[in-house]
Symmetry: C2
Subunit: 241 residues, 2 copies
């Protein structure tokens, strides 16, 4: 045992972004193809190291959002998802990553950024089933992100973030159905959403229709927390006889 004065170890700090959206009624996550080792060629979450020692972590997340995902920083709200710092999760050394969650409306394919060889939306169920091979512990991070989105739909107005600025109630129902993976009664959903004060507000004009009656348009309301919450039907444990 030496008696050298102890100094704390240092780590590399990274951010990773779980950006979810809806395409063709399925939940998708934005992934890039890694252009460099380790895990070169594998799919991974957009993200990267802090740029410099004074960079704010949230600022770094926003920077990666525009650099790697080429998405508009202004329209997306990032929420901290958690820290992933297992020793050995990155062969380059001790890398601790702060994961952020963002919800995006349906967007055109993002163009590849600087250090992303390719970028694209992948269905979350393909990721979670292990069908796709992800770098690092990113499958785990995505699983946590999806689960977070599921519960946030219950208690926050996050659902509107999946929609474009104006949307129909049917659009919003599609969000809940895709994220929760269930079907909902349109009539009850209609009532419920309307009576949850501040959730959605009418956007004047009705519009849209390939066929059928045109739907009214709404915008996201002022509330961020829903009261009463949207209730997700019980699952698993209610194994009915």
């Amino acid at each position: 045992m030496t008696d050298d004065p102890w100094v704390p170890p240092v780590v590399l700090l990274a951010v990773d972004l779980v950006i979810l959206t809806l395409r063709e009624s399925r939940l998708h996550v934005l992934l890039i193809e890694r252009g460099i080792d380790p895990y070169k060629g594998n799919l991974a979450l957009p993200g990267g190291f802090l740029r410099h020692a004074e960079e704010d972590i949230t600022a770094a997340a926003h920077r990666e959002l525009s650099e790697e995902a080429d998405l508009d920083v202004e329209t997306l709200r990032l929420e901290q998802l958690g820290v992933y710092g297992d020793p050995g999760r990155d062969p380059r050394g001790r890398v601790v990553s702060v994961a952020y969650l963002a919800i995006a409306p349906r967007l055109p394919e993002p163009t590849a950024g600087t250090d992303a060889a390719d970028a694209g939306w992948q269905p979350t169920d393909r990721v979670l089933s292990g069908d796709l091979d992800l770098a690092f512990d990113h499958q785990r991070i995505i699983a946590d992100g999806v689960e977070r989105a599921r519960t946030k739909l219950e208690h926050s107005a996050l659902g509107t973030a999946f929609c474009r600025p104006t949307f129909t109630i049917t659009d919003l129902q599609g969000v809940y159905e895709a994220v929760w993976g269930i079907t909902l009664d349109p009539r009850n959903f209609y009532r419920k959403v309307q009576k949850t004060e501040g959730f959605i507000v009418p956007a004047g004009t009705s519009r849209k229709a390939a066929t059928g009656r045109p739907a009214r348009l709404f915008r996201a309301g002022p509330c961020t927390a829903l009261y009463p919450p949207m209730v997700r039907p019980a699952e698993g444990p209610s194994a009915k006889e």
Copy 2:
């Protein structure tokens, strides 16, 4: 602009523990008095740097729990609360802290650990009101921890973690009332808790009574997630005319 190969910056990684308990019907948080600079003499959350470069973050949190708080690691479950890494939050340099939340039953005063000059439980409302001067951004971390506990009480069986191994329904009600800062109807609470399957299970013997009818004892049930959830009455926004 030089053309030196860019290398990512490094940071110091710390863990901080928000340990909540109930004493005399008030929510308390465990704080230590800092024995060294910076913020020497101020109150702070128990915590500290990673011991070595390969230490798991959760393991470090458990280690601090026993070292600094002298609490039994086995009985307390730690939950990640978030990352606090603003540049400038620590004058010693770039320190990023991972905060953990734990709930403890009423315990004897913990004995001071190694680098804690003094330790003790402080009411959370004194902390949140700014009545006590905390080191770093620990007031903010505690505020987040308390808020997390509030919402977890709704959807998880966390409330039982505030109680000793066996407890009465009145004990459990006291937890909800203290954390939520409201009063509840004992009769409705009784029914609600009983019918939430797996929340609490009878512990055989009835017992306890200074005066009045002895209460039945219960243990924490197998469920971690409550369904249906305990509903916290609406606050603020329902400003009744």
